[in-house]
């Protein structure tokens, strides 16, 4: 490991601009003639639109125009779609209701966009939006999964009778039922996974620019995947053909999944720019973000876990209903299916699993991937069930887990996944040691003496990331391939630009990707620039989500580097009159092994571009591209331990310590990996203790529409974390990396709830474990 190569704690190259206020986010963009948009949104959860009267609004100061859904439809702009086909167990395709970028006859959740106002300033646009008169006929609304499946529930889409989108299954129902019937013990648990709002600190924003002279569109947007945005807007929404649409995702202030999807606003602002002849910028405020950013989680499940007399798990049956909200967002269908049920084996050798998943429509914001996407739901379900089982069986939670760990690899689970590598006991042992598990009883006694209730809980998670082999996901219904692309351009003076389809919105790609190049070519990272986020610069890409940038994006860079290195070696061998196989790359030079003959990179690069003396038949230049399609998912895993003190008088939970032991395979930059874990933990702890989206079940009004009501984790809610890493390198990608972006959010919620339920002495506690809920739970126990 060099000081800047793989494994080094390199300070981030991108930090200076962020620290000095020079970051460039979408809302910072200003172009000549730019105007501002405000969306007219439904105040009702469910209503018919009888008519829209924009005449008063159009007459207001500064207003350029007010445009509605009928005009949009007349111009041929398509409906938003879900890009992953799921078939119900009866073979029928999922029932996708129409989602128009601007509602035409029906609104289906509070915040549904109805019209766009374009005005000189954002405040004038908002003034005018309030003056647009929409004549609504209110309809009854439904917000919760059980209620929406009731006979007589309000119906959202004619395409989906009974509000059921699909009824899907995975695994072997008969074998699982047999296992349960023959079990020595069955643990049965009802699990609710609370609905969350992702809350990237940068609200979504977009700037649509139509150039009439070139008939060309430019879209600045807060996206994790600008190429996917361009592809979908071209292929499905008829905004413009790809060659006439440039999508730029500049600095993006966090995503956590919520900025994967294409939302109505990007489409509408591009279209509005053409209609009005001016560039149109829209920036969400936080309340709009709560109303319209895709939410996460929201599952209700029933679980049966069967054990034999020796406490080995012999079967797992899961029945889940997942709320997808009012419309199917871009990847909404795969989250509660292939990103969820496929992880239900956890770290355990379970011979029979059956998962049944129903997804439903409700009058709520669309639900889609949020940090972890399906895997936190699977982990919470499994690790709560394991804990409760251990309590029922009178076993220590660690021993029950140890007894059931998978210990040989590769391991084929009954739910598709083939785990390639891991050492679950190593993480468990490391976490227990770091947490001083054996000293807990003494600490508990000390807490009791101070009138506090102390508890400890663990969670052993596994996740699948690095989405994913394209052929595999294709066979499961994905509408796109999930490879990544890279281009390595060695300039004539030897500096290097790397163009990647991965997108950095906090992950530090500008540093870690440069470390991979520096490690390989021995050049300083200051001579390497990472370019991303612009469809005009980067050839193609699938973007950043599902902890895929390292395993897939960096692997593409490695493949391109292979080609660059091979060509450079040919040139160097030719120039130094040596055999190509004798050329080695060391410290920024190409050397003839065993001699003192050497050429620095810049000279080789220059030779490639002057082309005065290249091997016969070789093309000039030193620039290579590659597409990398992974051969498997990667499987990060680990063990988290939470220790809490509960104040029985107030129900307040204090996290006394939080230990995370993770196996991410090889690590490019430990500092950045730790940062990813910290952030994931904060979001997982947020889910466990603080956060929850609440709708009024009668009216469908969002009750948590600002930080006044939705509890964001703040600095004084969290402890400092104790981290460690174990390493079983991933055998399926060239760097041996796994993926670290989501682990913290996946593994931490059950550890917290296991700890709190340990403290209060029973398991009747749902997330988020707010002080009020814990206090009531304590009272219920008495």
């Amino acid at each position: 490991m060099g000081v800047e190569g793989i494994g080094a704690r390199v300070a981030r190259k991108e930090d200076k601009r962020f620290l000095t206020g020079k970051g460039r986010y979408t809302d910072d963009m200003v172009v000549p003639g730019m105007k501002h948009a405000c969306f007219v949104r439904s105040p009702h959860a469910h209503a018919k639109i009888r008519g829209i009267d924009a005449s008063a609004a159009k007459a207001m100061p500064g207003v350029i125009d007010v445009l509605d859904g009928k005009q949009l439809q007349a111009d041929g702009i398509g409906n938003l779609i879900c890009g992953w086909m799921i078939h119900s167990k009866d073979g029928s395709p999922m029932k996708m209701g129409a989602w128009r970028p601007l509602a035409v006859d029906t609104v289906r959740y509070v915040g549904d966009a109805v019209a766009i106002v374009v005005a000189d300033s954002a405040v004038e646009a908002r003034d005018a939006a309030e003056a647009v008169e929409v004549d609504y006929e209110e309809l009854p609304a439904v917000t919760e999964v059980l209620a929406t499946l009731e006979p007589g529930a309000p119906q959202l889409h004619p395409e989906a009778p009974g509000n059921l989108i699909f009824d899907w299954q995975l695994g072997d129902p008969e074998a699982t039922d047999r296992a349960i019937a023959s079990a020595a013990h069955v643990t049965e648990v009802d699990i609710v996974n609370n609905r969350l709002s992702p809350n990237a600190m940068e609200p979504r924003a977009t700037l649509g620019i139509y150039d009439a002279a070139e008939d060309h569109y430019t879209c600045y947007t807060t996206s994790q995947n600008p190429h996917v945005a361009r592809l979908v807007m071209s292929a499905f929404y008829n905004v413009a053909p790809e060659n006439k649409l440039r999508v730029i995702a500049p600095d993006v202030g966090g995503g956590f999944g919520s900025k994967i999807f294409i939302y109505p606003e990007e489409i509408v602002c591009l279209w509005a720019s053409k209609k009005t002849g001016v560039p149109v910028k829209w920036t969400s405020d936080r309340t709009e973000a709560f109303l319209t950013d895709a939410h996460g989680r929201d599952h209700v499940s029933k679980v049966k876990m069967a054990f034999d007399a020796d406490h080995r798990i012999i079967g797992l049956k899961v029945d889940t209903i997942a709320n997808l909200g009012a419309y199917m967002s871009l990847f909404s269908s795969c989250v509660p299916t292939y990103l969820y049920a496929t992880l239900l084996s956890g770290q355990y050798d379970i011979p029979a699993i059956h998962a049944n998943v129903r997804t439903v429509y409700t009058n709520t914001a669309p639900v889609d991937a949020y940090r972890g996407a399906g895997r936190p739901e699977a982990t919470y379900l499994l690790e709560r069930t394991m804990e409760i089982a251990a309590r029922e069986l009178g076993m220590s939670p660690a021993e029950l887990r140890r007894k059931n760990f998978i210990r040989s690899f590769p391991h084929q689970t009954p739910v598709i996944m083939n785990y390639d590598a891991g050492d679950y006991e190593a993480s468990l042992n490391a976490a227990m040691q770091a947490a001083d598990w054996s000293g807990f009883a003494e600490r508990r006694a000390q807490s009791e003496a101070r009138g506090r209730k102390r508890g400890i809980g663990m969670s052993c998670y596994i996740e699948a990331c690095g989405l994913a082999p394209s052929s595999a996901v294709g066979s499961l219904g994905a509408g796109v391939g999930l490879w990544e692309s890279a281009e390595v351009r060695v300039n004539a003076v030897g500096t290097i630009e790397v163009f990647t389809g991965s997108h950095s919105h906090g992950q530090g790609h500008e540093t870690t990707f440069a470390q991979v190049v520096a490690d390989r070519l021995g050049v300083p990272i200051d001579s390497i620039n990472i370019v991303h986020g612009d469809t005009d610069k980067v050839q193609m890409g699938m973007g950043t989500y599902g902890s895929r940038s390292g395993a897939v994006g960096m692997s593409a860079v490695v493949k391109a580097l292979d080609k660059v290195e091979a060509k450079a070696k040919k040139i160097a061998a030719h120039l130094m009159e040596a055999d190509e196989s004798d050329i080695v790359v060391e410290n920024g030079e190409l050397k003839v092994a065993g001699t003192d003959k050497t050429l620095p990179w810049p000279q080789v690069a220059l030779a490639a571009y002057t082309a005065h003396n290249l091997p016969s038949g070789m093309e000039p230049g030193l620039k290579e591209s590659a597409f990398y399609d992974p051969s498997n998912f990667t499987f990060p895993a680990g063990c988290y331990i939470a220790e809490v003190e509960v104040d029985p008088e107030t129900g307040e939970t204090d996290i006394v310590q939080f230990v995370a032991a993770d196996d991410f395979g090889n690590i490019i930059n430990p500092m950045i990996v730790e940062g990813q874990v910290h952030g994931g933990l904060a979001q997982g702890i947020g889910q466990a203790l603080l956060e929850g989206v609440h709708y009024d079940p009668e009216t469908g009004q969002l009750l948590t529409a600002s930080y006044m009501d939705y509890t964001m984790p703040r600095a004084d809610d969290l402890p400092s974390f104790k981290l460690s890493h174990q390493n079983t390198p991933c055998p399926n990608n060239p760097l041996g990396v796994k993926g670290c972006g989501e682990a913290g959010a996946i593994g931490s919620p059950p550890a917290l709830i296991n700890a709190i339920t340990d403290a209060i002495g029973h398991d009747r506690l749902a997330m988020p474990a707010t002080p009020m809920k814990v206090w009531h739970a304590l009272h219920a126990a008495h």
């Binding site: 008088e649 930080y707 509890t711 964001m712 009020m772």
Partner: protein, 265 residues
């Protein structure tokens, strides 16, 4: 925010005159609630009269046990005042826990009590000390000042200029925050002074800040946390929301009262 006209006053009289000549004017002190409310388009004053530049409204004066805090004194000044700390540390503690540091740099005592948010801290100290609210035209005892949710005895155009009180022998404040907003979900201020014992509760009551007679009586006969042990706090009349139902709030009131007593010593 809807359109509004801003005026800056340099004296109390100028401010009163400015406001009286406007259709729907409002005094603007620190603005930490008013501007936020206007941003949400929940308030739409035609005119704002800024009080931050009136010298008479600023400053803390302590003479013996007599305290005067100018209405436009920001929370951070109260929290950090050595003179106040010497005679009534509880008010410094309370002021130092309002909102966050940035809010404390702008928000003022006058603005807070004029707004009388049921979850604000200052109403608890004003009522809990039996303070006097001084306005441009009169003095109002705290017991008469807070009249309901977001309602006070202030007349149209009347401006708070100061809060005065006699420093208590003992006082303490404890609050339990709303986890999201960090406003008080239950805040209790206890004091014992020349006029006896007072217990003021904020954050919990459906009608805003109130005195708890049962606790006052108990503490009057015995000034100790233990005296509160058998006090029942009635959940009727408590606020109920996502973060705290009435039963939980009633519990918090009692727990915070005990903790306020512990702080008071």
């Amino acid at each position: 925010m809807y359109a509004t006209d801003y005026h800056r006053a340099s004296s109390v009289q100028e401010a009163v005159n400015l406001l009286s000549s406007r259709p729907v004017g409002k005094y603007l002190a620190g603005g930490m609630t008013l501007i936020a409310t206007m941003k949400q388009r929940l308030a739409a004053p035609s005119d704002l009269v800024d009080l931050r530049h009136i010298p008479d409204l600023k400053g803390i004066a302590v003479e013996g046990r007599k305290v005067r805090i100018g209405a436009a004194t920001p929370h951070s000044d109260v929290a950090g005042s050595a003179a106040l700390q010497a005679v009534c540390p509880a008010i410094c503690h309370l002021a130092g826990r309002i909102g966050d540091p940035h809010v404390r740099h702008m928000g003022t005592i006058g603005g807070s009590i004029a707004n009388n948010d049921p979850a604000a801290d200052y109403p608890a100290v004003v009522l809990g000390l039996g303070a006097t609210v001084v306005t441009d035209r009169r003095s109002i005892p705290a017991d008469d000042f807070f009249t309901g949710l977001f309602e006070t005895a202030l007349e149209e155009g009347e401006m708070i200029t100061a809060v005065t009180f006699e420093a208590p022998e003992k006082a303490g404040y404890a609050k339990f925050d709303n986890p999201a907003s960090r406003f008080a979900m239950a805040g209790v201020f206890v004091s014992r002074g020349a006029d006896g014992v007072r217990v003021a509760v904020t954050g919990a009551g459906a009608d805003g800040v109130f005195r708890h007679n049962g606790m006052e009586a108990a503490l009057a006969s015995s000034w100790s946390s233990d005296a509160l042990a058998n006090i029942a706090v009635d959940s009727a009349g408590m606020l109920s929301d996502l973060h705290a139902d009435a039963e939980y709030r009633a519990n918090l009131v009692k727990v915070m009262a005990k903790r306020a007593m512990a702080a008071a010593g």
